[in-house]
């Protein structure tokens, strides 16, 4: 899997400056522009207008990923009334990689909107670029997977994720790890099969396919039903694009989506700092040794003057 992407470019860049060898940088520099994800990466298009909130996807995920039994059974719809910390709705946790929440929308004739929530599998994942042990991998199939055997437990990925997705097993003293949706990579995606939640959905809320095709499909649905849909596929461009994308008939901010998130991948905010690293590494030694020589020279001159006057 020798693909060029921005991450390997950065890696090359840093390694290159460390040994001050320009070749490693120039070889990869063609990938430095915009990285839009792997061309054949898969994705899921979620159409909230179809969701009835049956929680089948939650149950399927729990079974597929071998997660612990939930506090309330999956056919118990009272979870929609649960209010967590400071009025928040339910979120993904170490026991649930996906949750569905209910949003009461004023004036919507069809009743409340149900929103499925899980890892969005970004094209340029912030968790991946922020991880200093390389625990995350973006596979060519589009999934962002995680290697628990190298994780140190620093939780920077949780700070970096703009969607607040990664959960952490705080309760485990021996082996606390990050818990998040991996798009059923090991058991399904790798073999070209859709994630368990997609397959379990009785309403065909989710469409699994190539990300590029899904964008076309989403646009077609919006075009054919301009009165029904909001003219926006959430995830097409947000933070550099995500593998999971969403269609809705109510504004996304009313469903708890962050609509101020921007189209820049998170790493582009960090780049401004990363560019100073090679500069400091190369300029500082000369600069400060120069200062030292100058300050010494003043003293040497002073001494010379003294001896000259004698």
């Amino acid at each position: 899997m020798k693909k060029l992407n921005r991450r390997s470019f950065l890696k090359g860049g840093l390694a290159g400056t460390a040994v001050i060898a320009g070749t490693a940088v120039s070889k990869n520099s063609s990938a430095a522009g915009n990285f839009g994800g792997y061309p054949d990466s898969m994705g899921v298009l979620v159409d909230f207008t179809r969701c009835v909130g049956c929680r089948s996807c939650e149950a399927a995920c729990n079974k597929e990923q071998g997660l612990p039994a939930p506090d309330k059974p999956f056919d118990d719809l009272s979870v929609y009334d649960e209010i967590q910390h400071n009025g928040q709705k339910r979120r993904t946790s170490e026991k649930a990689y996906t949750v569905v929440n209910r949003y009461e929308i004023e004036g919507r004739e069809k009743g409340p909107v149900f929103r499925k929530f899980q890892c969005n599998h970004c094209n340029e994942p912030a968790c991946l670029t922020s991880c200093f042990v390389n625990a995350y991998t973006k596979t060519k199939e589009g999934a962002v997977i995680y290697d628990p055997t190298v994780c140190v437990g620093c939780r920077t990925c949780m700070v970096a994720c703009p969607f607040y997705v990664p959960a952490y097993s705080y309760s485990s003293p021996i082996n606390p790890v990050i818990k998040k949706c991996i798009m059923c990579y090991d058991t399904r995606l790798k073999f070209g099969r859709p994630p368990a939640c997609v397959e379990a959905c009785p309403q065909e809320v989710m469409t699994f396919g190539k990300r590029n095709d899904l964008i076309k499909l989403g646009n077609a649905r919006i075009k054919n039903n301009p009165d029904k849909y909001i003219d926006h596929i959430y995830g097409e461009k947000e933070v550099g694009g995500t593998a999971w994308m969403y269609l809705s008939d109510v504004p996304f901010e009313e469903l708890g989506f962050n609509t101020h998130i921007g189209e820049q991948p998170i790493i582009s905010y960090v780049k401004e700092f990363l560019t100073i690293v090679p500069m400091v590494l190369t300029i500082w030694p000369a600069l400060f040794t120069g200062f030292h020589l100058l300050s010494n020279r003043k003293e040497a001159l002073k001494n010379e003057e003294k001896t000259g006057n004698k």
Partner: protein, 416 residues
């Protein structure tokens, strides 16, 4: 011990006593007192009783953290992955320890030998601050035994934290080396001292590079969280520079604070050279701190202008921001300037205490208080507070133990 010194007690400061007897390592550890005398001294010190209480409460909770996991001691949640351990232990301790590279640069690089009496205190403050930042990190990491993974096992060199890890680690060894002369004098190892002296310039330049990068990188870490950190504390192009620049006056102010505490509580261990030059040195350091504060204030304003965050100034968060700037930056800047003008070391010390508190407020604001400002505020768990106090108490104990023994506040009598 101050009382004992008034009664004529002279702690060890050379290899032999007046009668030609060579001090043993045991003598050196007990400062020339017998173990019994030493212990009774420790019992008389009321601060030790406070420490005892801290340890009786704190140690079981630290043990509990490793038995029951982080969830038992912190309110760290999925939304607030970082709590007080990092907010205080890493993000505040590290800038307060910038004195190491500041003093190294001043003395070794710029040849300001007049700062020599306080150089070692600056270096020690740097070394211990970093060391305990790592201890705090070890309490916070989910799997502390994997600390070396980013070094050797699985490398993620594109991550900002990778820079922090590598630079803090290499700088830590750099600082150990810079303090070898003090240790060598105390233990009588002239060759080790000579060896380090031969590369001190290289170490100092390395120190500046590594400090620039990791102090900046701590700010760089938050550039991963646009939207999570309040815009007034967040500025992707300026973040690293804010952290670096504030570390300069934080480290210098902390040096004034610890030297003041030494003058008060460890007078018996200070020699005349240190005590006599301290007021002058304090003012010299204040000058540096005042310049850094002025620079910091300007770039803080430029950052708000650059990101066009003015509308936030008139919100509640804006008032909190203005409070931080007025108390943490403008007030110490004014006081330092007044102190310099009147030549008042006392006022400079007051100002240093305020600047240190100000920098703590700034780092806690960035890492904890304004983090997730749009979501909700997290209040640290009481056990988390207890652990922070316990680890910090250990920092003070180690600090005091080194100061009492090695030639930091006094110069070693024998030439080695």
């Amino acid at each position: 011990m101050n009382k004992l010194a008034q009664q004529g007690f002279k702690p060890i400061d050379s290899h032999t006593n007046g009668n030609g007897r060579t001090w043993t390592v045991k003598d050196k550890i007990f400062l020339g007192l017998s173990p019994g005398e030493y212990l009774s001294q420790q019992f008389k010190n009321p601060f030790n009783w406070i420490l005892a209480v801290i340890y009786i409460v704190g140690v079981p909770i630290i043990i509990g953290r490793f038995i029951y996991g982080l969830g038992w001691v912190t309110h760290s949640s999925y939304d607030y992955p970082w709590g007080l351990f990092l907010g205080w232990g890493l993000f505040t301790m590290v800038p307060l320890s910038a004195s190491g590279f500041m003093m190294g640069t001043t003395v070794e690089l710029f040849g300001r030998d007049d700062f020599k009496p306080i150089e070692r205190l600056g270096l020690l403050n740097g070394l211990l601050g970093y060391l305990f930042a790592v201890v705090f990190l070890q309490v916070d990491l989910g799997q502390p035994w994997r600390l070396i993974y980013p070094m050797f096992v699985s490398l993620g060199p594109a991550a900002v934290l990778f820079l922090v890890a590598w630079h803090v680690a290499t700088y830590l060894s750099c600082q150990v080396a810079e303090l070898v002369p003090a240790f060598a004098e105390w233990m009588g190892l002239p060759r080790a001292k000579k060896f380090v002296k031969s590369m001190v310039l290289g170490l100092t330049v390395a120190g500046i590079i590594l400090s620039t990068l990791h102090q900046g990188a701590l700010g760089g870490l938050f550039t991963y969280a646009p939207g999570k950190v309040h815009p007034l504390w967040y500025s992707s192009p300026f973040m690293w520079f804010h952290f670096l620049c504030s570390a300069v006056f934080a480290g210098l102010s902390m040096l004034i604070v610890v030297s003041t505490l030494c003058k008060w509580f460890m007078r018996w261990r200070c020699d005349q050279r240190f005590l006599e030059s301290l007021d002058r040195l304090t003012l010299g350091i204040s000058k540096g701190a005042a310049l850094a504060l002025a620079t910091y204030l300007v770039i803080k304003i430029i950052a708000v202008a650059h990101d066009n965050d003015w509308q936030y100034i008139f919100t509640g968060w804006g008032q909190w921001y203005l409070l931080e700037i007025s108390i943490g930056v403008i007030l110490p800047l004014v006081l330092y300037t007044m102190a310099l003008r009147n030549g008042s070391a006392g006022l400079a010390r007051v100002s240093a205490f305020i600047a240190v508190a100000g920098i703590a407020l700034n780092r806690l604001n960035t890492a904890l208080i304004t983090f997730n400002w749009d979501l909700y505020q997290e209040i640290p768990h009481w056990r988390e507070v207890v652990i922070v106090i316990t680890v910090y108490a250990t920092y003070i104990v180690v600090y005091r133990a080194v100061l009492a023994r090695m030639p930091i506040l006094y110069s070693w009598k024998d030439k080695t």
